[in-house]
Amino acid sequence: MDFELMITSLPKLLNATLITLKLLSASLIFGLFIGLFFAILRVNKNPIVNKFAYGYSYVFRGTPLLVQIFIIYFGLGQIEYLRSTVLWVILKEPYWCAIIAFSLNTGAYTSEILRSAFQTIKPGIIEAGHSLGITSKIIFYKIQIPIAIRQSLPAYGNEIILMMKGTSLASTVTLMDLTGVAKYIISTTFKPIEVFIVAGGIYLFMTFIIHNVIKFLERKYSY
């Protein structure tokens, strides 16, 4: 055990954790909107809209995240037309490519979580709203969405943790996030176990915090 290496690498790894957290929070925020959008499409009665949303979540959940990042980072740059548009400003940055891939990926999982939450709402609750003369729009925003959010909290907590682990793939497109820096230190010092303990410890600590925050929210919004 090389304790000195563990101590000297800690600040570098903590610094890299900031990038991990930035990637995570940006993708979760975008992913939540994408997920909500596709979940609403999924409960739509139009079969074409429905199939489209199902296809989206099927493709993104059935392929590895690594493939998705590579298609967006290496693949999209190949299209000449894209290079001439404003989008290229975003797509040439590995940072934004990673965020786009992560958001689309977590969006697919989130849409599934929210869809099942929408579907488990008892029809009686919606009927009660109707019989009280509340409009469908208000029922949706004030009754269905809050109940769905409460229902999906435990599953969404798992998704946040999975996404946090997913951000480690940013290191494959040259971003120096926590895993990227850990790999760099391992490959220069050849002390994998020490670095793994420190970097893994940071990840575990984040998992612990996320887990407890979700538990706290669950208790707060339980009925």
């Binding site: 392929t63 693949g75 190949q78 997913g166 494959t172 994998p192 990840y203």
Partner: protein, 230 residues
């Protein structure tokens, strides 16, 4: 389409072999995972607090740390660890471990943590009466486990195990960083030499979709088979 032809000009045969490699690594990893689950599930269910702690440490650490980090640990630390063990037995030459073994071991340990949770959940949701009844009947321990608990556990575990299989299959794409030529690595090579990354990575995505789709079909059949009588 020319890019996918077999023979020297196309990448069809290479990608086919790579797909077989992905399947082989996934199955090996899944089996290694079962071995780990076989060790750690009893620990998690045991009455001893200490054994519980060991079991919980395994599943918590592995499920809380990114897969890529675990793979790097094995990739950079694997041959060192084996050489250390070998040096105890007096063998001091350099040993290089095959990428296939390192990869399936790393993915296997990850998939084992998920399998452990699945088996634990399945055993815990078996009705208590079943345990008591087989005790009252005086069944021997192996018969109690293999004839009473296991069939019921499998029925409950298969739907969740199919999730673990999906995760394992997708995780194998990460082994490409160690240089094992599976779908992802082969697409990377092909994309590099033809300068056509969009096509090859999209094709890789199609291959993975195909694999997950086919395995779902197979597992659904298993599910029907094991829920006979319910």
């Amino acid at each position: 389409m020319e890019l996918l032809s077999f023979g020297k000009t196309g990448w069809g045969d290479e990608l086919l072999i790579a797909t077989i490699m992905t399947i082989a690594v996934s199955i090996t990893a899944m089996l290694i995972g079962f071995l780990f689950a076989l060790i750690f599930t009893p620990l998690k269910l045991s009455k001893s607090k200490f054994l519980n702690l060991i079991g919980n440490c395994y599943t918590t650490v592995i499920r809380g740390v990114p897969e890529l980090l675990v793979i790097y640990l094995f990739f950079f630390g694997g041959s060192g660890a084996v050489m250390y063990v070998a040096s105890i037995f007096g063998y001091n030459e350099y040993i290089e471990i095959n990428a296939f073994i390192t990869g399936s071991f790393a993915i296997g340990i990850i998939s084992g943590a998920y399998s452990t949770e699945v088996f634990r959940g399945a055993i815990q949701s078996i009705d208590k009466g079943q345990f008591e009844a087989s005790k009252v009947l005086g069944l021997k321990k192996p018969i109690h486990f293999f004839k009473v608990i296991m069939p019921q556990m499998l029925r409950l575990a298969i739907p969740n195990l199919s999730n673990v299989w999906q995760i394992t299959l997708k995780d194998t794409s990460l082994i490409s960083v160690t240089g094992l030529v599976e779908i992802m690595r082969q697409s990377y090579i092909a994309a590099g030499s033809t300068r056509d990354p969009l096509f090859f990575y999209s094709f890789a995505a199609v291959l993975y979709l195909l694999l997950t789709y086919l395995s779902m079909k197979l597992i659904n059949r298993l599910e029907v088979r094991y829920s006979r009588g319910y």
